[in-house]
């Protein structure tokens, strides 16, 4: 819906705290990212990684602190957001059209995630790893400045992990910002590795 304007993506969180369901999930968190940064967020299950990404995406509001961001965002979380009865190609095209992405960008995303052979398969028949790849392809095709990826490596085979590494490196190199929430250590060079402890405080 929004018009695209050329702006340098940036992201800053200052002293952010969030309470969800009477529990302090994040507290005193400050992060900033500039164009070209990959930020790797690690921590145990339930430490607030997903909450952090949803905050940045604007889907949740902070209890205290401020978040400022520039640039269009794309989110790949546990929900694929692709219609189950549509083919992979049609389901991805729905979002690509929303984002005003070109057919070339769509094809490039399909190729980058090795989905060319699956384009005519309905989304409901995809395996776990294939679903994950389709949802990553949605982010790739969006041409968004800021990528928010929640556990993007889960369910991927090693070849797909390498493809995802390449895609993230390429997005950062072309002036984007990528936030990766994962439970494993970074597999690529990152600008910052943020480790959340069980109280959601950057350790």
């Amino acid at each position: 819906m929004s018009s695209r304007q050329a702006s340098v993506p940036s992201l800053s969180l200052e002293n952010v705290a969030v309470i969800r369901g009477n529990r302090l999930v994040l507290d005193g968190l400050s992060v900033s990212a500039r164009a070209g940064d990959v930020i790797w967020i690690r921590g145990a299950n339930g430490c607030g990684k997903s909450t952090l990404l949803r905050l940045v995406a604007g889907l949740l509001t902070v209890t205290s602190g401020t978040i400022h961001s520039e640039g269009h965002m794309a989110l790949a979380d546990e929900n694929m957001a692709l219609d189950a009865n549509m083919t992979v190609e049609a389901a991805l095209r729905f979002w690509a059209d929303m984002d005003g992405a070109s057919a070339d960008a769509r094809d490039a995303a399909l190729t980058a995630m090795d989905l060319q052979n699956l384009v005519h398969i309905p989304v409901r028949f995809l395996s776990t790893g294939q679903r994950k790849r389709a949802s990553i392809a949605r982010v790739l095709a969006s041409n968004a400045d800021v990528w928010l990826m929640d556990e993007p490596y889960n369910g991927l085979d090693s070849a797909s992990c390498a493809r995802l590494d390449q895609a993230i490196i390429a997005r950062a190199a072309s002036g984007g910002i990528v936030l990766v929430a994962a439970h494993q250590p970074p597999s690529i060079n990152v600008a910052m590795s943020l480790i959340l402890d069980s109280q959601g405080v950057a350790a």
Partner: protein, 215 residues
């Protein structure tokens, strides 16, 4: 604007591929078919009460698609993705209501022609009934989206939806049935006004419910 049309088209496609086209229509016609068995073949009685029964059937048919209007989109992340792209919740609700008008209200209007023939409604009444339903169906589409947004994810959502729908639709039903009476007075104008108010308010109520349900 193109994105809005794309979202409306998606609503229609999902409704028609998910049984949303036939289920309300079949329900509606089933009521019209069964009603004469209850009253007996008294033509005068059928003509007098048949229009009202079709009104009740239309209101209840509104409840049928409620479970698939909001909840699947919330669970699959579609609502999150739209919010991320800067869509307001009210606009998403408006697109869903517009989709419901096409996917649910138009087929029901067509089914009314068949239904009124099954009941044996006088031809003079058919025009009034069609006009009245055409005025009320946007409000019913708005209510179905609003109730779907309010009850998404709650256990017993359908039962709760029924409880929510009944009181709000009483004015529509009173004026709607009033248009079919011998001296209709201003029933049609009042029906139009009530329907307009409900249709105009429902995107805001549904939008607020969508926002409150985001976790």
């Amino acid at each position: 604007m193109m994105s809005f049309i794309a979202l409306v088209a998606r609503e229609v496609r999902l409704a028609w591929t998910g049984g949303g086209l036939w289920l309300p229509v079949v329900f509606y016609l089933a009521v019209a078919t069964l009603f004469p068995f209850v009253t007996g073949p008294d033509k005068a009685l059928l003509a007098r009460t048949g229009g009202g029964i079709l009104w009740i059937a239309a209101l209840l048919a509104t409840l049928l698609p409620i479970e698939r209007l909001i909840l699947p989109d919330r669970q699959s992340g579609v609502l999150d993705q739209l919010a991320l792209r800067g869509w307001s919740d009210e606009l998403v609700a408006t697109a869903k209501i517009a989709g419901q008008i096409v996917a649910f209200a138009l087929p029901l209007l067509l089914a009314t022609i068949v239904g009124s023939a099954l009941i044996g409604l006088p031809e003079a009444q058919l025009g009034t009934l069609l006009l009245g339903l055409a005025l009320a169906l946007p409000a019913l589409a708005g209510l179905s989206v609003m109730i779907a947004a309010l009850t998404a994810g709650l256990s017993g959502a359908s039962a709760l939806g029924g409880l929510l729908l009944v009181p709000i639709t009483i004015p529509l039903l009173i004026f709607g049935a009033g248009t079919l009476a011998e001296g209709p007075g201003n029933a049609m104008q009042l029906l139009a006004a009530t329907s307009l108010a409900i249709t105009a308010l429902s995107p805001f109520a549904a939008g607020a419910a969508l926002r409150a349900g985001r976790t």
